[in-house]
Amino acid sequence: MAFQFTFDLNRCTGCQACVVGCWMENHAQQDLNWRQVHTFNGFRHPALPMFHLSLACHHCEDPACLKHCPANAYTKDAATGAVIIHAERCMGCRYCTWACPHDAPKFNAGLGTIEKCTFCFDRIGQGQEPACVARCPVEALGFEPSAPENRHHDIPGFPASTLNPSIRFQPLRRIVGPELCVVPKPALLASFLDQVLAVPERKITLRGEWSLVIFTSILAVLAGWFLAARMGGPAIPPLAFLGLGLLAMGLSAWHLGRRERAWRALLHLRSSWLSREIALVSSFLGLGGLYLVFFPHKHGLAWLAALVGFLGLLAVDRIYRVALTTGKPSLHSGQALLNGCYLLSILARLPFLFAGALALKTFLYVHRKWHFRRQGQPLRPWLSLTRLGLGFVLPAILWTWSPLLAALSAVLGDLVDRCEFYDELEVASPQGELAKAFKRGAALSVGTVE
């Protein structure tokens, strides 16, 4: 029988016994807390209630971690519904920490692998409740046979998803805080809001993912140039292709927690775009290398390599879909496939593709800036001017004169964009959702607070 957690917002006092109860059960295999208590309105905004969400892994019916794991390190136990990470199969790519909106998988930096809530699989087998449930002193956490009805997943702070998390919430009886005696004046309140707004720590940062910036940028260059060379553009020196290819693969393996398990990335082609990316990119580099070094006359091989290269870029872009925050359309001017096409158009002198790609990228860039600006994020005009100048203006001027110089400028411009791309990536998390809900609630309350 599959099970689900229950959580009653009216009962939880944020006491943290569940977190300690989990630690008591699992500390031998636990580096970070598997369960976390998230507090809404810890600074007690008078117009908003204060409540807690005790969240761990919800052992989703359609688990994103399992689906996206390239190493096939996750399984779902049919008997209990538990989603299990098998650390011995994990290569530490951390992609599941992006894919899961509940922040359930935790990266154990010491072991270089992922750990997370096991649903206390063993205890369930012995007819016991999970440790957190058994040790919740106020019956806020519960455990029951899984049932899809009335799960009330529309709780503020609980990320919306299509994953069918196995948890049923009991919503707050009263959705406002108590009536207070003294409420600060709105202007005074507003002056403190910025200070107390919790800005959750970002899971994806440019600084943390620089190796991936270089990896994906090299791939776009290699794929674009390789195909351009086929279509009459400047030839690609075999040594440069192999050198850059090796550097890219090296960097992609470098950021793994367990590099010796990099080969496992190929084990989940069925549902993981990361697995597919690695397969396609390795094939592209392999086929391209074979063509350039050993079989320069086998044109079929070259076309195949080029096709696989562009499919690889498509796979790269699919990977980042879980973290793209551009709004609609969910396309980015720094996406790998677009960058590859753009470079192709410059090096192979394809005017229609060049015009089209340039127009689309410029539109996407400006649109995105507008989108973030409306969300109140800084515009960073000098960065934008560099990106636009190097990426679009200079190539447009140089295009007819020197494709190589134009391409170099375009690549540099795209690199700036790619850096911005990583800086903008963010995945849903309870902390983030709670911060958003607080901001929304505080904004709405202006006018209701005397």
Partner: protein, 677 residues
Amino acid sequence: MTVHTTACPRNCYSTCSMRVTVEGGRVTAIDPHAGNLATPEGACLKGLSYLERVYHPDRILHPLRRVREGVFERISWNAALTLIAEKLQEAKAKHGPQSILYYSASGTKGVLNGCGAGFWRAFGGYTSTYGDLCWPAGLEATRLTLGDNVHNAPWDLANARLIVLWGKNAAETNLHQMRFVDQALAAGATCVAIDPRRTQTSERAQLLVQPKPGTDGALALGLAHLIIAAGQVDTDFILAHVLGFEAFAEYVKDWTPERTAATTGVPEAQLRCLAQLMGSTKPLTICAGFGMQRYTNAGQSMRAMLALLAITGNIGKPGAGWVYANLSTQIFGHIKDPIDFYPPEQPDGVARISISTARLGADMLAQQNPPLAFAWVERGNPLSQNPETHTVRAAFRRLDFRVVVDERLTDTAREADVILPSKSLFEQSDVIGAYWHAYLQLRQKLIEPPGEVKPETEIYWELGKRLGMDENTLSSILPEPDDVRVEQWLEAKLKPFAITLEQLREGPVLAPGTPEVAFADLQFPTPSGRIELVSEEAVARWKVAALPEFCEPVEGAGLGKYPLQFLTPNTKNGIHSQFLNLDVIRQFEPGPSLFLSPEDAAIRHLHNGDLARVFNDRGELRLPVRIDLSLRPDVVVAFNGYGTEHGGSVNLLSLGRETDMGYGAAFHDNRVDVERG
């Protein structure tokens, strides 16, 4: 692997039963014990954190001797006890036995705690304290009004239709009560919180009344005024069971909503709303906390609050009543609290009970004939938890010799000449009571003490022998140092009540005669046999008005030069100065903070996270600011329990003075100012 029943012995309402797993001589898990109907879902995070605490690397495992300030070296038990015996004999010879101060506090519950006083008596005499830091003013107010400190079973709260949590943040200090609050709310009850702070508990309330600290008595009188004016009193109940209603009604006539609002800072509309709720909703339970009865006017305030229940007939019924303290398990002594706290009217010449706990430092310094020369401290950390840290420290430093028995290097232990390691809750069996539920429980010995740790009874035994006491004398006051003897000793204590250790090994047992509903027979053991709104005993014993009249707290209501009231409550993360050092706890509360309202922060140009200096004439602390957007202005808050390693105790700023009744400590009567640190 074995699983055993035991209980958490901390000074805490909940006193949880626990099932503890022991594997290979080591505690490996702590789980709920369903046999305790008050805490069937298990201990809070502190109870679970014993897994770290008992094996914590900072635990003291051997006797230590001070080499110089802050530096200790390990010594053998033999050396430690010989040195202590020598110093005791020296003090006794020079000044007499009453130059020895025996100071014990509430760090651990247990019947065996009583052995300490017996030992010092056998030594020939000692000096000790009267009164208590915790709750005597409220106990005495309750005793004067109802005759005894008992209340309905904890789970009976689920039957209430109106719950008033008055100065009680149960979610942090009595977590398990929140289950019953929730059960009542789920059944349609209403909850009101009265607290200057918006707390986790007040989130369950529809109304949060935020009076100026120390004005709870005025609030109660103002509410009584409105209830009486609206004719919402229970006349039949009053006629049959209440003494002094007419005089009380006459007195509260002056407590008009206007006056009450001005005194308490509670808007009139809220007063009327709360009075309407209290006057019209039955049954009503008031759960009163401890914090507000640490003001100079505290006893009278609590009497006024009790009067609200008396005039509305909310006593002696399911779902109704006064949930303050339940002393049903105080069956082992001749007298119960609060009488137990009073100095004897006739000193017996052996025990000199002359030091007020509230004024510990000043009274220690002032003690003459003989002056104090030696102190023995167990289960307590007066340097962080008693008022006036500076004075307490000075008083300890003036002594010739100090012994502190403790589990870790507290601020008090740092002052010691010799530190003796103390047992954890799993290392000696004892029988413990409670003060919210009425279960007697066996705190079982489950593991061998680590290192050279010895339980206090064993320490006394060994020390007694070095002082020349013979085994017959010692065994008349202490169990012999042997697990079997300890259990026999406990068994003998339980025998008069027909309770066996075997029973307690299975689970908690309700103390004999515990009522489900207190005062259900409407018999009140007061002088008049009725609920006394007018108390002659209050006048005679405490020199206060016979009626629960209101007078401003000494430092309260803007009378002094400091503009802010300093609240120093407990947090869920500690029990006084215990637990706050553990990693398990510190991940949730890394250190102390100063909570400020937006108004008070803005005036002082302070932002969230800034360092602030909170100060008055007595002392100062530097703490990071945290903004609390719902805190009552003119109130600042810092949790108590932190000591020197976190920048100092909040009691650096408090003053040792007694409450109006009960010999409590009015150290919440404490005004301060705050500036940029």
